[in-house]
Every structure is written in C-alpha cells, then in structure tokens.
C-alpha cells in the first residue's frame, strides 16, 4: 500500500550513543533526515545544557560569517554557490581551525576597514580644505577689488573714517557645512550676532563621501567676516553647534597658494594609499567569497548537531548519551546503517544501540511525499495535520481538486493559458529552482506548479465540454440543430426559437459537450446553461460527499471501530443516499424520460405523448421539497401525471421515514453501546479495572491508555449530539454549498463574454486600415483583461472555493486532523530555513 494513503507507522526508539561517537552519528542522522529527537531534559534551561559552550562558539562563528557576508555584499562580489553536493558536517576538531580562520579574517578586515576609514576621513578633510582655498579665493578677490573701497567708505561713513585703519581690521573664519543646514545656520548667525557678521557661501558641486556611513553628501563652503574677539567666539560656537568643520585659512594670498599646492600633493599621495588599501580589502574579500557559502553550511551543521546533542540525556557513567526519537518503522534499517557509518567514522569500537520502546503516546504523522504530491499534501496540512494513521485525503485531492476547480473555471482558452504556465514551470523546474527568486508570490506559484498544470488541463477538458473558448464555441462534430424557417419568416421576425419537437433538432445530441448552437443563442442560453450547471453541481457534490463518507468506513475498519460502522457509517450513508442521491437519480430520470415526442409523431396531442413531453416535466427542486413535506404537487397540469415513475410516492415516503430514523441511531447508538460496555465491565468485577488504574498511576506514561473507559457518559452524549447535528444539517447545507460550482462557472462564462463583446468585438468590427490599428490596441486591452481578471483573479477565487469545498464539505465527512507533524532532524530543512531567514 502506498504510504500517502495513511501516515507512516512510527516507533519510539531509545538510542544509546558512545560519547565519542555521538557527534558523528548525529551528523549522519542529520544527513538522512528521518529521525525526530525528543527533548529529554525539558526542565533544564538553555544555559545549563551540556554543549552550551559549543553552541555559543558556533553562534560566534556565524556572527563573524555574517559580518564577512555583509562586507562582501557591500563590495558587490559574487558569492559562489556550491555546485551539487553540500559539504559534510566537519569533525569537532576542525571547529578550532574554522574558528581560527574566521578570527583571522575578521580581524584583518576590521583593521583594513579602520585604516580605510581613517584615510578617508583624512582625504575628506583635505578635499574640503582644497575647496575652501579655491572658493574663498573668490571672496578675497572681491574684497581686494578697489571699487569696493568706496562702497566701504560710504557704508561706514564718517565714523568709519574716524576710527581709522586699525579698528577696521576684520577677522574671518572659513569652513564647510552640510548644504541643507545653510539656511538655518545663516539665520542663527544673524540673530546671535545681531547682524554684525557677514557670511558668504559657495556650493561645492561634487558630492563628498561621508567616511562613517559612506553616503554621498552635498556640502557648501562658507566664510564669515566679523569684528572683534567676542564675536569670534560666538561665531565659532555656532559653527560647532551646526557641525561645521572649520579650517585654517591664511590671509595672505601667497600663503594660500602655497597651502593649496601642499594640499594637492597630499591628496594625491593619499589617493594612492587608499587605492592600495581598497585593493587589499578586495583581495581578502574575494578569497573569502569563494568559501563563504561552504563555511555557512559547515557552521550551521555543527550548530545543529550540538543543539541536538543538548536534547540527550547523560548516562550515569558519563560514557554514554541516551536519546529518544520517533522513527518511521520502515526506515529502521537505513537508520541502523547510518549509525554504523557514524561509529566507523569516529573510530569508536562500541556500536550504538537502537531500542524500540513501548508507548501510549500518539506518534507524529508523517507522509512521505515527492515533488508532485507534496503540494497537494500541503493543501491538506494547511487545514490540519492528520491524526496518526488516519486516511489521508491528499491522494484523492490530486484529481478532485483540479476537477472541481475546472468545473468553475471551464474555458478552453483560459485553461490552456494556465496549463501552459504550469507546464513551463514544470519543464524549467531545475533552472528555476536554481535561480532562487525570493519573491513570495513567485514561490507560491512555483510551489503549486503541478496543481496549476493539472488545474489548467482539467479546465481545458471542462472548457471543451462547456464548449467555451474565450466565450466562443467550437463546432467539431456538427451541431444537432438546424434552421427550417423559410425566408419570409426569417426576414419578418427578429428572434426565432428552434423547436426540439421537430426536425429543427436532429433528435440525437451533439456527441461531445454542449451543442455549439447554445453559445449563439444569446436570448435563452443562460436559461439552458443554468439548468444544466445547477444539476451537475449537485450531482458532483453528492458524489463527492458520498466518497467522503465511504472513506470514513475505511477509517473505522482500520481502527477496528466496529460499533462506529453500525451506528455511524451506515446511518450516515443511508441518510445521504436516500435523500440526496435519490434527488440525483431524479435528475437523471428527468433527463431520460421527458423530451420531444418520438419522431414522426411531432406536435401531436395524444395524452401519452404529451405526458412525456417538456410540457409535463416537473421541477426537481419542487418534487424534492414536496417529498420532504409528504405533499402532492398541487399545481399539476391536467393531462400530466403527478409522478415521474410508478410507485414514486410510496418509495419517497419510505425513503424519508428511513432517513429520519437514521438520525436517532446516529444520536444514541454510540453512547448506548459505550454504556452497555461499561456496565458489562462493572459486572465482571472492579478488580481488573482498579489494577489497571494503579498501574497507570505508577507507570505515569501508561495512564492515558485507560482514559477512554472513564469518559463521562454525558460527555459522550454531548459529543455525539454535536456530531449528529453537524452531519444532518451539514448534508443539507453542504449540498447547497456545491451550488457554488454553478455560480462561479456562470460568473466566469459571463465575464468572458463581456470581455469579448465589449472589447475584441469592437476591434474586429472596425473596418479599413484604421481598423487594423484599432484591433491592435483593443486586442492588447482584451488580452490584459483576460489574463489579469479572468485567469488570475477568477482563478484565485475558484481556487479558494475549491479549497473550501475540500476542507469543509469533503473532509468533514471523515477527516479529524488532530495529529501533529513529524519534524525530523534534517540538515536540509535547517539549511533551507536558515538560508531563507537571512534573505
């Protein structure tokens, strides 16, 4: 039997490992990824465990690697992916080497970075000084301009002239400030110095690099003139407050020129030194980039191993580590082999011991999936993890899910688009996987590529049956409808209906799917399609639910719940069959027994012919409601029969009565048998029960096994009551719920038609060469709407409705979903999640 039908059989094992061999063995198990370890010291906190030191060392190494990685990223050096194989977990003694390597690399890098930063700061200062010297030159030149002298005289007036040359001596400071601070700086200066200073500023055109953050910033050069020492201190304070850097600037033009020369040479020297430092840094990083992914893998593996070892118990003699783990029963052999490999690698002589343990605990649920089935399994897990060994709905979902989706999404064109997209993802699987596109939406699509492919293929099939391709139809086999109206009728009537009771209809249907004529019958296409789609929704729904109930039988048989078969499964399936499956049968009866009169008998009024004509066809829904209410159809027409087949009334009454009788069986059956069981046990004497209870309290772990007997009988009643009400009411509401198949399918078809009529038709009808251009534009719009709304959005909504039909309507019939997931210790999973976390 395939393992996907039920979760794997699991055993709890005890594992004795020699201290020296433990590391190697756990490493082997991690590569295998089939063992889930249990924490044996849950009351010990993380800091008191045995290998906490090693874990800490690994953390430290990981931190260094992350630092390295950040630096590599900053320089834009490509990091090499390890092609193919992952490196194995290194030996514990290799850890020291690794640590030393990382330590060295980190120190080197830090030193280089520090140097580079100091150099850059120096460089910045020099460039700023260079700019100051260059820009202030302009200001000084202006000052020296003889025409200004007069201005000065007029400005200062008599007083200035009287004060004489000595007091007119102006001091100045020059510096550099961030450009955005200039306005505030200027205002502050004006206010604080009461307008007694003179500020000139000029922008530095090229951005400068800030060495601490390595951002590009724009700065301005300024020069402030003032008079007197008091103002000088004030100005300096303000400059400090605005983080402006001040530079000494000689007054004499000759000094300035000399200084500028000196600055230029120093800048050049610095540039060469900086270049060399960068080269060195680059070389170090390139070397590191080659190995960094490898190192990450190694460190993470070591860390994972020590984490796992921390879960183990230490033997009294300290020679041996004891672990408890869940293991799939089928894989015991492979695990034994892995353990042996581990022991050989560590050179230990004593083999590890793997002991099966008896337990009353519920084992974890584990379903072995492959790349095809895992997506479907995840759909189920998203609802709830299967109870241990319960029937798994995933294998059936593989087909029923795309099928129900396709009933709602039935369109050959849209289905083909979806199938092509799915096929492309499956075909390019490996290269796409290698690309590692980390967009959430993409990973959802890519994860569900097989679902998408199947949904597309099924949509193409249902689209063919609905005869719907972008809201047009295909006439492959030749329509069954003909026009027999003559020319005058055709010209005088706008709308004409073909009569099935004549040779308008060839008396045998279109062999595959809906007749193409219906797509053209804009006047009553919806009436016909609604009747058809509503019926198939209910038919499919009832079959789906019946299938679910049958799966519950398989569960009962497997868990040997004989009573449940009699008082749960049988009444449940009878209830569903007698009421809802009967309704489905009525639909088929209606399809076969009412219709056009036999050929050559067209349009007669013979009562036996009329009785089986469309005129007498009853409504299924009314018939069903009347059946539930034990009523006759009051609106029966004169010639027509009241019933669809002989004895219908009796059969219906019987069915309803039996179905109603099933309800008390479901409600009281199980509690009754449990009560009877308890009484019998009580009669046999209390001794064994008491003994078991004592054992249970002494053994601790064994206690839950006996819980069932002591269950409160009222609780059983309440539970069963809820269950029964849920099922009975559920049958009605779930059947109605399947009508969403019809509703969504109708909506999809209508939207596609609107898109065609409103857009593409306009383009196709426009004449002349402008029409070509028009069509070009309109087609783009139509294609965009088709893909974005009809395929993507409608696809999403149909997907969600299908999901609901599976989770609620289908799985509620048999699936408890009360288990917990098997989470094996596996390097693959750990590395994957670590890799995603960092991105």
């Amino acid at each position: 039997m395939g393992s996907l039908f039920r979760s794997e059989e699991m055993t709890l094992c005890q594992l004795f490992l020699q201290s020296e061999a433990a590391y190697a063995c756990v490493s082997e198990l991690g590569e295998l990824g089939l063992v889930q370890f249990r924490d044996l010291n849950p009351d010990v906190n993380a800091f008191q465990r045995k290998f906490v030191n090693e874990v800490r060392r690994c953390d430290e190494m990981e931190r260094k690697l992350r630092y390295l990685e950040k630096e590599i990223r900053r320089d834009g050096i490509p990091m090499l992916e390890i092609p193919g194989e992952c490196p194995e977990a290194p030996q514990p003694r290799e850890m020291i080497d690794l640590e030393a390597t990382f330590e060295k690399l980190e120190n080197e890098l830090r030193e280089v970075n520090q140097n580079a930063e100091a150099l850059k700061r120096n460089y910045l200062e020099l460039t700023e000084l260079k700019h100051i010297l260059r820009k202030t030159q302009v200001f000084f030149d202006e000052m020296a301009d003889p025409s200004r002298e007069e201005e000065q005289v007029t400005l200062l007036g008599e007083e200035g002239l009287m004060a004489g040359g000595q007091a007119l001596k102006l001091g100045f400071v020059a510096g550099v400030i961030l450009r955005e601070r200039i306005p505030a700086f200027e205002r502050m200066l004006w206010r604080a110095c009461r307008g007694n200073v003179f500020l000139r500023q000029a922008e530095i055109d090229t951005p400068l690099e800030d060495p601490s953050s390595s951002d590009q910033v724009y700065k301005s050069v300024f020069i402030i003139f003032f008079q007197g020492d008091q103002l000088k201190t004030r100005v300096k304070k303000i400059c400090e407050g605005f983080r402006a850097t001040l530079y000494p600037c000689p007054e004499a033009p000759a000094d300035r020129r000399e200084m500028a020369m000196g600055v230029m040479t120093r800048i050049e020297d610095l540039n060469t030194v900086l270049g060399q430092t960068q080269d060195h840094r680059h070389r170090v990083l390139v070397a590191a980039a080659k190995n960094i992914k490898n190192w990450f893998v190694k460190v993470r593996k070591i860390k994972a191993i020590y984490h796992t070892l921390n879960l183990f118990n230490l033997d009294v003699t300290q020679k041996c580590l004891i672990a408890e783990c869940w293991v799939p029963a089928l894989d015991m052999e492979t695990i034994q082999l892995a353990l042996r490999r581990g022991t050989e690698r560590s050179g230990s002589s004593v083999p590890p011991i793997l002991n099966r343990m008896e337990t009353a605990e519920d084992p974890p649920s584990y379903n072995r999936t492959n790349k095809f089935t895992s997506a479907f399994q995840n759909l189920i897990y998203a609802y709830g993890v299967a109870t241990y060994r319960e029937v798994n709905p995933a294998p059936y979902t593989i087909i029923t899910f795309p099928f129900l989706f396709a009933v709602m999404f039935g369109d050959l064109g849209h289905g083909a688009l979806m199938a092509l997209f799915g096929f492309w993802m499956c075909y390019k699987e490996k290269p796409l996987q290698a690309k590692k596109i980390d967009s959430e939406i993409w990973s959802i699509f890519f994860g569900g590529r097989y679902i998408i492919l199947l949904m597309g293929l099924f949509s193409m099939y249902t689209g063919l049956i609905y005869n719907d391709i972008f809201s047009k139809s295909l006439n492959i086999f030749g329509s069954s409808w003909r026009n027999n109206y003559n020319e005058s009728t055709l010209t005088s009537n706008k709308l004409l209906q073909l009569n099935p009771d004549s040779w308008d209809y060839l008396q045998s249907p279109y062999p595959f799917g809906i007749d193409p004529v219906w797509q053209l019958a804009e006047a009553n296409k919806i009436i016909f399609m609604n009747a058809f789609k509503m019926k198939i929704s209910i038919i499919i729904g009832v079959f789906h639910m019946l299938f679910g109930v049958c799966l519950s039988l398989w569960n009962h048989v497997y868990f040997k719940r004989r009573i449940s078969i009699y008082v749960e499964f049988i009444p449940q399936i009878m209830f569903l069959t007698l009421l809802f499956f009967y309704m489905v049968l009525l639909m088929f009866i209606k399809w076969t027994s009412y219709g056009p009169s036999p050929a050559l008998n067209f349009n007669t009024s013979l009562p036996e012919v009329v009785r089986s004509s469309g005129y007498c066809a009853p409504s299924i829904l009314i018939t069903f409601i009347n059946m539930m209410l034990f009523k006759h159809d009051e609106n029966a027409r004169e010639v027509c029969d009241e019933v669809m087949f002989a004895g219908q009334m009796t059969i219906q009454k019987m069915f309803v009565i039996i179905a109603l009788l099933c309800v008390p069986v479901m409600l009281f059956g199980k509690p009754y048998f449990i009560m009877k069981d308890q009484k019998q046990r009580a009669r046999q004497g209390h001794q064994p029960v008491d003994g078991a209870a004592e054992n249970g309290s002494a053994g601790g772990a064994v206690a839950p096994a006996h819980g069932h007997q002591d269950e409160e009988i009222t609780e059983v009643f309440i539970h069963q009551g809820i269950h029964t009400i849920e099922y009975v009411l559920g049958s009605v509401s779930h059947t109605a719920s399947y009508l969403r198949l019809w509703a969504l399918s109708l909506a999809h078809a209508q939207l596609a038609e609107v898109a065609w009529n409103m857009l593409l038709r306009k383009g196709l009808q426009s004449p002349g060469y402008e029409g070509g251009i028009m069509l070009y534009v309109v087609f783009a719009g139509w294609a965009a709407i088709s893909v974005s709304i009809l395929v993507l959005m409608e696809g999403l909504s149909a997907f969600l409705h299908t999901l609901r039909l599976h989770w609620v309507e289908f799985q509620s019939k048999f699936y408890a979903g009360e288990g917990y997931l098997f989470q094996p210790f596996s390097f693959e999973i750990i590395l994957d999640s670590a890799g995603q976390g960092e991105e």
């Binding site: 003559n486 004409l496 308008d504 062999p511 006047a523 198939i536 009412y594």
Partner: protein
C-alpha cells in the same frame, strides 16, 4: 429517446480504458497506488462530466432562441439551405 449508441460507447470505452484497464499497467514502485488512484479518479470525473453534458441534451425541453441574422448565417454555413 434521443440517445445514439456510437458516442456513448466511444466515450465510455475510452474512459473505461483509462480508469479500469490502465491502472493494471501502472508502473511498479512506491507510487503505484497513487498512479492508480489518479487514473481511476480522472476517468470517473471526466466520464461523469461528459455523461451529464450528453444526457442533459438528449431530450431537450427547450430550443435555442436565435437572432434571425444568426439563423441565416447558420443555414448558410452549417449546410441547410433556406427554403
């Protein structure tokens, strides 16, 4: 009764082969069970869907109501000359 034997036989046999015969030839291996279930369910769902579409049209109760232009076009292209 407007059923004709050929299409019913053809499609039933076609899906019967997929759903009943093919599962016997499913490749051996751990996935045999899954492949069988997939084949059987595909055949069952597709056959049921086709059957419903076929039976719903076997005895039509109403005929399509068409525009006269469409009718003229139908006569023209589907090969039934207007009298």
């Amino acid at each position: 009764m407007g059923a004709s034997v050929v299409p019913i036989a053809v499609f039933t046999i076609l899906w019967g082969i997929v759903g009943i015969v093919c599962p016997f030839f499913a490749p051996k291996g751990p996935n045999r069970g899954i492949i069988q279930v997939v084949l059987m369910l595909t055949a069952a769902t597709c056959w049921l869907f086709w059957l419903c579409a076929y039976m719903a049209q076997m005895n039509p109760l109403i005929g399509p109501r068409l525009d006269n232009e469409t009718l003229i076009w139908i006569s023209h292209t589907w090969g039934n000359r207007i009298k």
